[in-house]
């Protein structure tokens, strides 16, 4: 299991936003996470990449209990997880290409070796021409595509994407989806939080995706209505 939550709960400021989270995400699985705005999708993903720790219950990420990890363990584990933040942040002073190879250089990996992969990735997300642009010079959709590219550049075992197509037109959204499906076929676990029902439907045509729904702070498996 790459992500294992048992009876996990989380709430901000003493409240309880999410509770009784029981979820096993195996390698190679494809999940969608839906729910109305403010239902806790982003919070849930933060539990998965250890930005937040569950207040109760347990969470095991890539086989390790999050409570027993040191700060360095968290850093090392994150190198095996690709995250697309909802509000994608970059290092504004570095050109796009360097931002995309940042996860490689942070992990001490040779970026020169990965250069070819990076080029391919850039053209897949349609940003070859913006390679040398600084992040503040990108459009909203370009930022989201760049964030997805940065998340997958290290070929991580898990990809967590928070609303990765919110600012992107339908054609490009399908392209990004194809990229994720491709990676999923290579054995990566994919979790996408989204409101976009069309995206979910399009994915279901290609992979056996499970759809999770957050409602009232509980996680449900969405039925046949999707």
């Amino acid at each position: 299991m790459v992500i294992e939550l048992s009876q996990a709960a989380y709430g901000y400021d003493g409240g309880e936003l999410l509770a009784e989270l029981d979820l096993h995400i195996p390698p190679g699985s494809f999940h969608f996470l839906t729910g109305p705005s403010g239902s806790g999708k982003t919070t849930f993903l933060k539990l998965c990449y250890m930005e937040l720790l569950p207040k109760r219950g347990s969470a095991r990420i890539l086989g390790r209990d999050v409570r027993e990890m040191t700060r360095d363990d968290v850093a090392f584990t994150r190198r095996r997880i690709g995250v697309v933040h909802q509000n994608c942040e970059f290092l504004d002073h570095l050109p796009l290409a360097e931002n995309l190879s940042l996860p490689l250089s942070v992990a001490g990996r040779d970026t020169a070796e990965a250069a070819a992969d990076l080029e391919e990735l850039l053209s897949w997300v349609g940003l070859e021409a913006r390679r040398n642009a600084l992040p503040p010079e990108l459009s909203g959709g370009e930022r989201q595509r760049a964030a997805l590219a940065r998340a997958v550049v290290t070929s991580p075992e898990v990809i967590l994407a928070d609303e990765p197509t919110g600012n992107i037109d339908w054609d490009m959204a399908q392209r990004l989806l194809r990229l994720l499906i491709e990676l999923n076929r290579m054995g990566k676990a994919v979790v996408i939080a989204t409101h976009d029902m069309n995206l979910i439907r399009a994915a279901k045509a290609h992979v056996p995706a499970r759809v999770l729904r957050l409602r009232g702070g509980r996680l449900q498996l969405a039925g046949a209505d999707l």
Partner: protein, 301 residues
């Protein structure tokens, strides 16, 4: 320890890739460079003040102070007895380093300014003079007067040169003042660099967040900031020190006429002191930034 030193060297030599993750410039950077330059400049001056007043105090005490006289007026036959008594009293007085009966020739030389060389000193019924050299601590003039009155009624203590003592004290006080100033400057520099580093860390909260997200270790992030700040402080302090030294070299030298104030410049191996300022500033910056970075990072997930 050796590994540590090597680590520090590697740290300063730099890893250009890790360095680039911190935005290159910005006002906190300039502030750090400027602050360390200004503080180094002031420190050079305070150091110069302190060393110069130290020399001043030494010179004044050597050249001027610590010499008094005892004058013995007595009938011709009493003279040798009283002279011996006075010398004995002075020998046993704490704070008197040396006491010596002056010869007639010396006395004549002392009087020359007033009478010219032709004074027929042998024909005069002049008193004997004993030169008293004080020790560092100095003696208690009132106590000595009382003892002299008891042992040698014709002896009078004249400590008219003791007025120079406050000058020496004043010089000592100025030296202490300079040292206090150096201490204050060092403290404020540390505080300002800590604050500037914290400001930079706060301004770069997003950068740090991105780095944590993509799996950077704390040590990687801290190192990038520490290196930046140490280098900036080092270069700022170097510029400030050099500027301070140049400014001091161009101050008019003061020892032309009297030699009492030897000017604010550095002399001899004292030139090495200001050279210690930039490395000390860099070490301060290193620790200040390191602590600030570790504290900031602990607050993030």
């Amino acid at each position: 320890m050796k590994a540590r030193l090597l680590g520090a060297a590697a740290l300063l030599a730099g890893d250009s890739k890790a360095d680039r993750v911190v935005p290159p410039s910005g006002f906190t950077a300039r502030l750090t460079v400027f602050t360390s330059a200004a503080m180094a400049f002031l420190a050079v001056f305070a150091l110069a003040l302190s060393l110069a007043t130290g020399r001043l105090a030494d010179r004044w005490s050597d050249q001027l102070a610590r010499s008094s006289t005892v004058r013995i007026s007595a009938p011709e036959d009493q003279m040798p007895i009283q002279e011996a008594a006075v010398l004995e009293v002075l020998r046993t007085t704490p704070g008197v380093a040396d006491a010596r009966l002056m010869s007639r020739a010396e006395q004549a030389a002392l009087l020359e300014p007033w009478f010219g060389p032709d004074l027929p000193i042998e024909t005069l019924p002049i008193p004997s003079l004993v030169e008293v050299i004080e020790s560092e601590a100095g003696f208690d003039p009132d106590g000595l007067r009382l003892r002299l009155a008891a042992e040698a009624p014709g002896a009078v203590l004249d400590d008219h040169t003791r007025w120079r003592r406050p000058l020496v004290e004043a010089a000592g006080r100025l030296r202490a003042f300079g040292l206090i100033a150096i201490g204050l400057i060092a403290l404020s520099t540390a505080a300002m660099i800590t604050l500037a580093a914290n400001a930079a860390l706060a301004a770069n909260a997003r950068v740090i967040g991105v780095l944590r997200l993509v799996g950077a270790q704390d040590s990687y992030i801290a190192r990038a900031f520490v290196r930046r700040f140490t280098n900036r402080t080092l270069s700022g302090a170097t510029v400030g020190t050099v500027a301070g030294l140049i400014a001091i070299m161009f101050l008019p030298a003061a020892d032309e006429q009297g030699g009492f104030l030897t000017g604010l410049g550095f002399q001899g191996w004292h030139w090495l002191w200001p050279l210690a300022i930039p490395p000390l500033a860099a070490i301060t910056a290193f620790w200040a930034t390191r602590l600030a970075a570790i504290r900031t990072l602990r607050g993030l997930t």
